[in-house]
């Protein structure tokens, strides 16, 4: 076996080893979404396998779509935990779901629970561009004392399956009147359009028509479909400004 092959094998081994160490380190056996906070898992023999969503970002169709989040929690250690809670908060930090399941002894003598919820996705103002959070916490109940440890917070991000694009003259002459048109792919019609020129709202409708003046400006169209799905597209209008007359 050549040195190069040995090196490749070693790299593969190191990569796999690192993945395993990471799984154990935060107490989470699997998580497709980013873990923004995790604490208190070590020493309890607790393992949270965050099974849903299976991939992040989650493809987003429309606001309030029902998605699942949750996982399976096994306590191989102290068996001192009574409840596992899962709170779902949207991008406005509004709690949209709070489920509490008990740990219990299963028929094969495991001490475990599952936490799965359906929740209305992306109900916060940020919608598809923001993220919801799954917050897991365990409740311990020993000798009449309750506490809340450990915990984990998982960010559920979204990806819109609706896209928009703007077509029109990108390099008009000064004071020319131009028309720019939005094209939509995906989503569910009818669509609502909001046009923004240099950040200011300038109109609605599938197209925007205006004089370009003698300035260059960004044009944005914000599209909302009938289901509340949103997407944004931008376009830069580079008016052919006469640079001999004014500074450019």
């Amino acid at each position: 076996m050549s040195h190069r092959m040995l090196h490749r094998l070693l790299v593969v081994f190191v990569v796999f080893s690192a993945a395993c160490i990471d799984d154990v380190g935060d107490g989470l056996g699997y998580h497709a979404c980013e873990v923004s906070q995790s604490s208190g898992w070590s020493g309890y023999g607790l393992a949270l396998h965050h099974q849903e969503p299976k991939q992040c970002p989650v493809t987003f169709r429309y606001r309030s779509s029902t998605f699942e989040t949750g996982g399976w929690i096994t306590d191989n250690g102290t068996r001192n935990f009574t409840f596992a809670e899962l709170v779902v908060r949207n991008s406005d930090n509004v709690q949209v779901k709070w489920t509490a399941n008990s740990f219990y002894e299963s028929v094969d003598q495991k001490w475990e629970t599952n936490l799965f919820v359906n929740y209305p996705a992306a109900t916060g103002a940020a919608g598809v561009s923001g993220f919801d959070r799954s917050i897991f916490r365990m409740t311990q109940w020993v000798s009449g004392q309750s506490g809340t440890l450990p915990s984990a917070e998982i960010k559920i991000s979204y990806r819109s399956d609706m896209t928009a694009s703007i077509s029109g003259n990108a390099t008009p002459q000064p004071y020319e009147t131009g028309t720019w048109t939005a094209s939509i792919s995906g989503g569910v019609g009818p669509y609502e359009y909001s046009w923004y020129r240099d950040g200011a709202y300038v109109g609605s409708g599938e197209s925007y028509t205006a004089s370009v003046g003698n300035s260059r400006f960004p044009l944005e169209v914000h599209v909302t479909d009938s289901q509340g799905g949103r997407t944004v597209s931008s376009f830069y209008v580079a008016t052919q400004v006469d640079c001999t007359q004014i500074s450019c």
């Binding site: 099974q51 399976w72 809670e85 709690q95 489920t99 219990y104 599952n114 359906n118």
Partner: protein, 316 residues
């Protein structure tokens, strides 16, 4: 080969669930032990007044659940929810893994059929006040137990909280439109060990036959299924059987002899007596931040049991 128990006559609304459910391919594994379903003729194990409670099929007509402290779903709704829960389990890796581990081999979801008999397990706990989290109220409340078969083999047991607010719709579970929505402990799914020659729960007719044979006594009341302590899966529920006389029983482990006319049949058809010392209450933390509550345990509904050998020896 023993035949599958005929459907419970009181479950007349349920055949639609079976049709709506997962279609059986009769693919039970022929190599494993056959499960015992048919208790045969149990009339000689019943007092005369209970004979009228036997359906033509030989199964007991169990009473409908009594109203609880909170709105309670009907058995048919519990069956529909159990179907939805199994559908969710089928597409969720961790559920599939757990059921496979408990069953002892992969669960063939496509072959599962909901058994038409859905049992109601009463709770030994008094009701939690309304201010407690719904997940806690469900946990301490009554449950239904539904069984899914593959061929004649019991494969998956689903416990459905009778107080749960979710309802099955188009194969999924829909909850009331509230924000925030407080839920929890609506279901407990358990894989039934492949090698087990029993269902979960044990059929009441089989419990009657086993106890009748062991004690040479007759059963004097319709059996009542009692859910276990909240620290154990609902599938550990016990049938309470009242005999027409007291018999001697020996407590397993201690060897102590006791006399009782009430015996319990638990998982795998094991016999139990109520432990002589029962807790009066259980401390429940308030997840919503209020003070913990000492929740009373109802009289006559034990939470602690001792496994026992039953004898036909009468007691004074």
């Amino acid at each position: 080969m023993r035949r599958l128990a005929k459907p419970f006559p009181g479950a007349g609304l349920l055949p639609v669930l079976i049709v709506a459910g997962l279609v059986s391919s009769c693919s039970s594994d022929p190599t494993g032990p056959k499960q015992v379903w048919d208790a045969g003729d149990i009339r000689r194990f019943l007092v005369d007044s209970l004979l009228s409670r036997l359906a033509d099929s030989g199964t007991l007509i169990l009473p409908l659940p009594e109203p609880g402290a909170y709105p309670q779903m009907l058995p048919g709704e519990a069956g529909e929810l159990s179907l939805a829960a199994v559908k969710i389990a089928e597409r969720t890796a961790s559920f599939r893994d757990a059921l496979t581990r408990q069953h002892g081999r992969p669960v063939n979801f496509a072959s599962l059929v909901l058994h038409p008999r859905i049992y109601f397990a009463v709770t030994p706990y008094e009701s939690l006040p309304e201010q407690f989290h719904n997940g806690q109220r469900n946990l301490y409340g009554p449950y239904y137990l539904a069984t899914f078969l593959s061929g004649e083999r019991a494969v998956v047991s689903v416990a459905v909280s009778a107080y749960g607010e979710g309802r099955a719709r188009d194969g999924t579970i829909v909850f009331p439109n509230r924000t925030p929505l407080l839920t929890g402990n609506e279901f407990q799914l358990q894989g039934i060990p492949f090698k087990a020659e029993y269902s979960i729960p044990f059929a009441p007719e089989l419990a009657i036959r086993l106890v009748g044979e062991a004690t040479s006594s007759r059963i004097a009341e319709i059996p009542v299924l009692i859910r276990p302590r909240v620290t154990r899966a609902v599938q550990f529920a016990h049938w309470r059987l009242r005999l027409d006389r007291k018999v001697k029983a020996q407590v397993r482990g201690s060897g102590a002899t006791r006399c009782s006319d009430v015996v319990y049949v638990g998982l795998a058809g094991k016999f139990f007596l109520a432990a002589e010392s029962q807790p009066q209450s259980e401390v429940v933390p308030d997840l919503r931040g209020g003070p913990a509550l000492s929740l009373e345990i109802r009289r006559g509904l034990p939470v602690d049991f001792e496994e026992a050998f039953l004898t036909p020896v009468p007691c004074e």
